[in-house]
């Protein structure tokens, strides 16, 4: 089976039909069909009529699809797209039919610039997923750090973003220093990250579409360092790790850096904070027990308890943003290599997401909570991979040259 979902309605995604014969429209249509199928497959919510069967029935009449044809190949829901427009602007019609009675479940028309037809498919995918009362992730982006623009003299790492499927990589920082640990603002217009451009690690906030930049967001004092910024789900607060008290602790401040205060106080190193979806709790890494382990506390720092129970090296917690799944993904050392694991908070049960593909680390959740991304060693470089939360599907993204690490998935 080429389907990923094991239940749910069986979708037939008809080949996109141009409204008039035109090579540019036909090319755009080809992209839209391909990307829409990939987007909906990725979501893992549907079954699909195999592509081979789509051509076993008479050609689609896009004006008035013959439901008997689609019924005969087992389709429960039919997705029809049509494209018209000019070299500069595309119009895309989406219709979703309930095959049993031919009723239209969704009818949309999209209009926009023709230069990137993929965005039409992403929008259509998200609208179709919305029919299931879930949120789709086709229009989300992944930020990451990469050494692709490094030189022998300047071994720089810069921040980049790309579409959730690895397409359209864009460079965000241009300072030839080390720029690491990006974290999206919840409105997905900004990135906090750690930059060494002033000679020591500090948190910067870039509004990446406006081109503005706030250095030292967390207000570090002379000689103190800041790592691992993480915005609360409502965007009102930021957590990070700082050694300004003389020891590495987790700190919390308002999103503009005001009101900073330490929320851990231990002789050990506390770092890597991640917020619960309610914003009421924070998971973090601490070696207070002798080895790095994942702990949970209230956002005020009270009620600290250990979350990871398996293994002697666990780090990089990432809390599932979907309240329905009470779980934290993290990096765990197993037999000398690092793997992605998920711990169910209520039961303490741990499941391993990766194996047999070298080391993987630094998980980040899609906003749906149904997928995660992380970085895995592939020969001499690290590459970003995505997986569903069961670990059934793990695949690399073609993010571009260099080592691509520390992914952070946008809303």
């Amino acid at each position: 089976m080429i389907t990923s979902g094991t239940q749910g309605p069986r979708l037939a995604i008809a080949d996109c039909a141009p409204r008039r014969e035109d090579p540019a429209l036909r090319a755009a249509c080809g992209t839209i069909s391909q990307v829409l199928r990939a987007d909906l497959r990725f979501e893992g919510l549907f079954q699909f009529v195999p592509d081979s069967l789509l051509r076993a029935i008479p050609p689609l009449n896009p004006e008035s699809p013959n439901m008997e044809d689609w019924k005969s190949i087992g389709a429960g829901v039919l997705v029809v797209t049509r494209v018209d427009g000019t070299a500069a602007e595309l119009g895309v019609d989406l219709r979703v039919y309930f095959v049993e009675n031919g009723q239209v479940m969704l009818a949309k028309r999209y209009a926009g610039p023709a230069r990137n037809p993929r965005v039409f498919a992403h929008q259509a995918s998200d609208d179709i997923v919305l029919l299931t009362q879930n949120r789709g992730v086709a229009r989300t982006k992944i930020a990451f750090s990469s050494d692709r623009d490094a030189t022998k003299e300047r071994r720089a790492k810069e921040i980049y973003i790309m579409d959730y499927d690895g397409f359209n990589p864009r460079r965000v920082t241009v300072n030839n220093s080390l720029n690491i640990l990006p974290n999206w603002t919840p409105d997905a217009t900004g990135l906090a990250y750690v930059s060494y451009r002033q000679g020591r690690p500090l948190v910067f906030l870039s509004r990446i579409y406006a081109g503005t930049n706030t250095p030292n967001l967390t207000g570090e004092k002379e000689s103190s360092q800041a790592f691992a910024p993480s915005f609360s789900p409502d965007g009102s607060r930021i957590a990070w790790a700082s050694n300004r008290s003389g020891n590495m602790e987790v700190w919390v401040a308002n999103a503009d850096g005001s009101g900073a205060h330490a929320v851990t106080q231990s002789a050990a190193s506390d770092t890597a904070p991640t917020w619960s979806p309610t914003g009421r709790e924070i998971a973090f890494t601490s070696n207070r027990g002798g080895t790095p382990q994942i702990y949970v506390m209230d956002a005020e720092g009270l009620n600290v308890r250990r979350l990871s129970t398996v293994g002697n090296y666990n780090d990089a917690p990432s809390w599932n943003p979907n309240k329905q799944f009470l779980e934290v993904a993290y990096t765990s050392r197993l037999e000398g290599q690092f793997q992605i694991a998920i711990v169910d908070i209520a039961s303490g049960q741990v499941r391993q997401i990766t194996e047999n593909r070298g080391s993987c680390e630094y998980p980040t959740w899609a906003p749906s909570g149904r997928h995660l991304a992380f970085s895995c060693q592939r020969g001499a470089t690290w590459q970003i991979h995505v997986a569903d939360r069961e670990g059934r599907i793990v695949q690399p993204l073609q993010a571009g040259p260099g080592s691509n690490v520390q992914p952070d998935w946008s809303n």
Binding site: E63, N101, T132, E153, Y209, S269
Partner: protein, 191 residues
């Protein structure tokens, strides 16, 4: 009659949609009929009002950020074999070995003879750990060296600590020899 049954079926399919997705949402939302078909008989396909779609604004690279000043400029008075040679650490260790302690004591003598020199102590790790824990470990290594220098009489105001974790290894190779060179405190003389 027949049509009503099909409508029911449509509602059931929507419910299956939602359940299959683990939506677990309010049932009332599942029994809504599908939106009415667009006006006309199908020839006016583009019934609904067009919804604008585009990739959004493009990223504005922060060209004005400028190149980092001292980040990559290293003094000659450091590194392997120099007067401020790297201090090496054991795997996952931030404690100084006897050799490391002896080396730091020699560095203290050198620093006391050059009281104008300000030093950045960089903490580095090998590639075999996670990003964030290695940043914490690098901080501990650099701080262990700083604390010993201060206890030997070097003014702490001359000593800044920066952790690089595993982000900038001296030796890009893999294997114990490379890892051992990368687990280090490295000294940079500030100009």
């Amino acid at each position: 009659m027949h049509a009503r049954r099909l409508n029911l079926l449509a509602a059931v399919v929507l419910a299956v949609f939602a359940l299959a997705c683990g939506g677990g949402k309010r049932p009332s939302a599942l029994t809504q009929p599908p939106p009415p078909p667009p006006p006309g008989t199908g020839s006016t396909y583009g019934g609904p009002r067009p919804q604008p779609v585009d990739a959004g604004p493009d990223v504005v690279p922060l060209d004005g950020e400028g190149v980092a000043a001292s980040d990559f400029e290293e003094s000659r008075a450091d590194g392997e074999g120099g007067p401020l040679a790297d201090v090496l650490f054991g795997y996952d260790q931030a404690n100084l070995s006897d050799e490391g302690r002896a080396l730091v004591e020699r560095h203290a003598v050198w620093l006391q003879a050059r009281r104008e020199a300000k030093i950045i102590i960089e903490g580095h790790c090998d590639e075999r750990g996670t990003v964030e824990y290695n940043l914490a470990l690098g901080e501990l290594r650099a701080r262990a060296v700083r604390d010993l220098l201060v206890s030997l009489g070097v003014d702490g105001a001359r000593l800044n600590v920066v952790s690089y974790g595993k982000e900038r290894p001296l030796d890009g190779g893999s294997g114990e020899a490379s890892w051992a060179r990368n687990r280090r405190a490295h000294f940079v003389v500030r100009r």
